[in-house]
């Protein structure tokens, strides 16, 4: 693929389970493509050089900075943003826990933090507080002091673990 600087290239990707496409110049950042071209404004753009983490989305499942990625690099990939979290029943368990623990105030950083936390909880089922804080170190929040987020993530990890246990015991009983 060879694209000229002024050329607009068609980019097709799977956004929150739906195939979407739009046009991007080579220099268009993924975050701007999501917001301006696809209208997915849930993802926020903060520092634009990979420090603040506000723009974090999941790319093929992995939490990544969408300001440190070009739209053309997302061709054919699976993207999940904060819009994917709430279902028809309302907020997800993680979002509800954030609300309960006052893990957000102005909410600007929250969209990115939730996406990091989701990947983290997929990878580390039973994390320690230190592990949660290490993961959160990739994000800046100027309102909360992070304590509420740590509590929310630990609580969700615990409830998800508990929810998973009866199933596995059931399987064991069947054997």
């Amino acid at each position: 693929m060879h694209a000229r600087a002024d050329q607009r290239i068609r980019v097709t990707l799977t956004l929150n389970g739906r195939e979407r496409s739009g046009y991007a110049e080579p220099r268009t950042q993924l975050c701007d493509f999501l917001r301006h071209e696809l209208g997915a404004t849930g993802t926020h753009v903060g520092c634009e050089h990979g420090v603040c983490g506000a723009c974090t989305v999941r790319v093929d499942g992995r939490a990544s900075r969408s300001c440190l990625m070009l739209a053309v690099q997302a061709e054919g990939r699976r993207l999940d943003t904060v819009e994917s979290l709430a279902g028809e029943e309302g907020l997800s368990d993680l979002q509800q826990a954030f609300r309960r623990h006052h893990a957000l105030q102005c909410g600007f950083c929250t969209a990115g933090i939730l996406m990091s936390c989701e990947e983290f909880l997929d990878c580390v089922a039973d994390p320690s507080e230190a592990q949660v804080r290490d993961m959160l170190s990739g994000h800046l929040c100027r309102c909360t002091g992070y304590t509420g987020m740590v509590l929310a993530v630990l609580e969700v990890a615990r409830t998800r673990c508990e929810a998973a246990v009866p199933d596995s015991q059931q399987e064991n009983n069947d054997v």
């Binding site: 050089h49 990979g50 790319v59 990544s64 440190l68 070009l70 053309v72 290490d134 993961m135």
Partner: protein, 281 residues
């Protein structure tokens, strides 16, 4: 900010990538994970005319354990290497040092070879490669490859021995030697920030190699004979690196860190607690 405009090229083979590099002269930059380069482009500290994306080259995506080294292809991300089963046993220094690279979210896209190519003097991977005496494998547009020792590869701040039409295809980390111990320490303002001082040690019964990052214009590795009291050797090392004052720390503080952390590292106290945080293979 937004990057200045550039042509975007996605070659499908190594040879094509090298040809494109040759054609573009000094106007091109290679991008893989982009976790350092994209920030530089966004801030317009670099404004290349062409960006050559090597992520589409299939045969660069491998981690191979060979006779005496672990080979990591240019497509492998830092997270993939960190999760590689047996990393802690094959190259224990990497298992200790890699959780210090940026953050979870940047290790997901940042590549191992990209960090080596970027050659930031305070980065963890160049330091590990230097301390272990590893090699960088480069290939040119004629398909010829050459191997360069880490100490010859890193030539200064963001400056390496890579020639203009060459692509780094893999880096080679020597496997752990039986009986040797590997240790890593870092001090930064916050976990994930650039290192003020990072130390990597390879400790044998009679000698030790100490690598220092964040102080000189490149990672530096020195070998010592082991003494009961290494204070003098550490002090000499601290003064030999041309430490400078900058916004993050004074030269005197950096020298003090080399002396203090060096003693701790050689004595083998409890390792940095943070090392246990990241997911690992």
């Amino acid at each position: 900010m937004k990057p200045a405009a550039f042509d975007y090229l996605r070659p499908s083979s190594r040879r094509e990538a090298c040809e494109l590099l040759h054609e573009a002269g000094d106007d091109a930059r290679l991008i893989a994970g982009g976790q350092s380069l994209m920030a530089v482009l966004n801030m317009r500290l670099a404004q290349p005319k062409r960006l050559i994306d090597i992520a589409g080259i299939e045969d660069l995506h491998y981690i191979e354990r060979r006779d005496d080294h672990l080979a990591v292809g240019a497509g492998v991300t830092q997270a993939e290497l960190l999760e590689h089963p047996g990393l802690a046993e094959a190259v224990p220094l990497l298992a200790q040092a890699m959780p210090w690279i940026g953050h979870w979210q940047t290790r997901n896209r940042g590549t191992v070879c990209g960090s080596i190519a970027h050659a930031d003097p305070s980065a963890e991977l160049p330091l590990c490669l230097a301390a272990l005496g590893g090699q960088v494998v480069l290939e040119n547009r004629r398909g010829k490859s050459r191997r360069v020792m880490a100490e010859d590869f890193f030539q200064g701040v963001l400056t390496t021995d890579r020639r203009q039409d060459e692509l780094i295809t893999e880096v080679r980390f020597p496997l752990a030697r039986p009986g040797a111990e590997y240790r890593f320490r870092e001090v930064a303002m916050r976990h994930g920030d650039f290192a003020i001082v990072a130390l990597a040690a390879v400790i044998d019964s009679d000698r030790l190699t100490l690598g220092v990052g964040g102080v000189a214009d490149r990672p530096v590795a020195r070998e010592f004979v082991r003494h009961a009291d290494p204070s003098e050797a550490l002090n000499a090392l601290a003064w030999s690196l041309g430490a400078e004052d900058d916004a993050h720390a004074t030269a005197a503080y950096r020298r003090q860190l080399i002396r203090e952390l060096g003693l701790e590292l050689i004595a083998g106290g409890p390792s940095n607690e943070e090392n246990a945080h990241a997911r690992q293979g």
